[in-house]
Symmetry: C2
Subunit: 325 residues, 2 copies
């Protein structure tokens, strides 16, 4: 476009330094110092163009998604955001315009979630653009593991399930997209592009949950992972899995999408378990935090995570979990 | 090759879980807990195939380099390794063989540097393989910044400078490679493939250095960065910049390589400054740690980092710093 492009140091100094933690060295050092963080929860997740997002997605939304998928992991572990590191691999055709849009979105979320940038790395790549974020969280009094579920615990999910997988169908222009109402399309697309990390639940999970994880690879597959980590089974009633109005509209148009809603990725809702003694308190805390929380089943003895139809028969999924491999 | 390839969960459970910190959740969770780490130094650096290493480099060496470039940053900040997170973006043609070699090299270094794996992310990419590591270090009593150099401080580097840049010339099969002795070729190539993070210097830097950074983008450019961060100038005598015998052999064959030695990347030696009152103690500590430490010049007033020839004239470099952009 004839535009002179920023060099690496300018990119850091002009575009990313304004996002830096005020306590730090303004990104002008090899590393950053997290002063006395206490117990720290650390997590990392990467997004690759063409795999996790579309190369022409708005850069601000790509930035927000990259941060939010990490914040979602912090929420699931009962942690509070403390900051992050950013690694950005830029392909030959990156533009200042893209970088500025990316940084603007990232800055908005860093402020909104009180999660400043502490440092990072920028590099060139001949391949697709890749964003890798490592997020740090203050652990509070307890790390909420995947492995703590016990038979008899209630199983919950926050929000609604499947919107993002159906939003991806919309983004791809699959047949159902044209038949959906405009509001349903917009809702599903928004849920695919912009996850809502359920940080309002962090404290409640620490206090009341036996186990938790975020739903990033599909509810069915992720529940199986949680059950495996806990050495338990699980029984979920499919009819209780919460669906948005938009998802219900899509499934009414194409019943096959019901399976996709339960097995598709990118929900970034929380899946958590609580013993009967703590279930009421967990539900109350969710209500107080303004987060929808729905009991969908129960932890069971055994090793199998099963999804049951209304008539009690087991629903088997062709592809229970989303995988990029 | 007809080989059945590991899935993502098998890759994690079979290949990477053995490297996990014993205190952790065996990589079977969304995040990891660093218990009461005290002040923490965090840093992140990524390597991209075809940019930072050759796709056919031995995978164990790629893994070691990816970890070591981060440990080098910890050393420069006076920190002791505490663990790391690994993000691995795998292209369509990755093999179990590659992954096993990568993990074996990583395991060796995680043990050697007492720096366990705490978690990470694996993803597919249509593009080149990329390794991104975030390393955590215990900060000790002081974070050693880039910005602390003051006029009158002595300027030091560890080890020898330029070996890696000349090793890259060997790796590329440039003309000089065929004319070097076999031992010189082997030495330079080894220095390119396998950095030595100077962690033996961490404690001494905390106690005696006013400023430090690692030399990753070439001594000339990195000294300019340190001077800029400190708001000072610097005068280095080119003849005092320590060169290995192999580098001297290469430069004797092609005098133009002298500039490349001082401006080329990948040294992963330390550049540090100390006030006159602490210089002797820093030198003594380096000797005790078995690390070569050479005074190459002095921090000066002003803003310019200059390299001086024997006759006192200033040497100007065509391209003072290595950049992938």
């Amino acid at each position: 476009m004839g535009e002179r492009r920023l060099g690496e140091e300018e990119l850091i100094a002009q575009i990313f330094a304004p996002l830096a933690a005020p306590s730090g060295f303004g990104l002008a050092d090899d590393a950053a110092l997290l002063a006395s963080p206490g117990d720290l929860v650390v997590t990392t997740d990467a997004l690759v163009a063409g795999v996790h997002f579309f190369p022409d997605d708005p850069p601000g939304l790509v930035a927000k998604k990259a941060l939010r998928v990490n914040l979602s992991d912090l929420a699931a572990k009962g942690a509070e955001p403390a900051g992050f590191l950013l690694t950005l691999a830029l392909p030959p055709d990156w533009t200042d315009h893209w970088a500025r849009g990316f940084a603007a979105g990232l800055a908005e979320d860093a402020r909104a979630f009180a999660c400043p940038l502490h440092g990072g790395d920028t590099t060139a790549t001949p391949g697709p653009l890749m964003v890798s974020i490592t997020a740090f969280g203050r652990a509070g009094e307890r790390f909420v593991p995947r492995s703590g579920a016990r038979p008899g615990d209630a199983i919950y999910v926050t929000g609604t399930i499947g919107d993002a997988a159906l939003g991806l169908a919309v983004r791809r222009g699959e047949a159902v997209a044209a038949r959906l109402s405009a509001p349903a399309r917009a809702h599903l697309l928004d849920r695919y592009l912009l996850p809502r990390p359920r940080l309002e639940m962090s404290q409640a999970l620490r206090r009341f949950a036996s186990a938790a994880m975020d739903v990033s690879d599909g509810l069915a597959g992720d529940l199986a992972k949680l059950a495996r980590a806990s050495g338990v089974g699980a029984r979920v009633e499919l009819a209780r899995v919460p669906l948005s109005e938009a998802a219900q509209e899509a499934i009414a148009l194409d019943p096959a999408l019901r399976e996709r809603a339960v097995t598709g990725g990118d929900d970034y809702e929380l899946l958590c378990c609580a013993p009967p003694s703590a279930a009421a308190a967990l539900e109350l805390a969710a209500r107080a935090g303004g987060v929808g929380l729905t009991a969908i089943g129960e932890v069971a003895a055994g090793r199998e995570a099963v999804f049951l139809e209304r008539d009690g028969t087991q629903r088997r999924f062709e592809r229970p979990s989303f995988s990029h491999f």
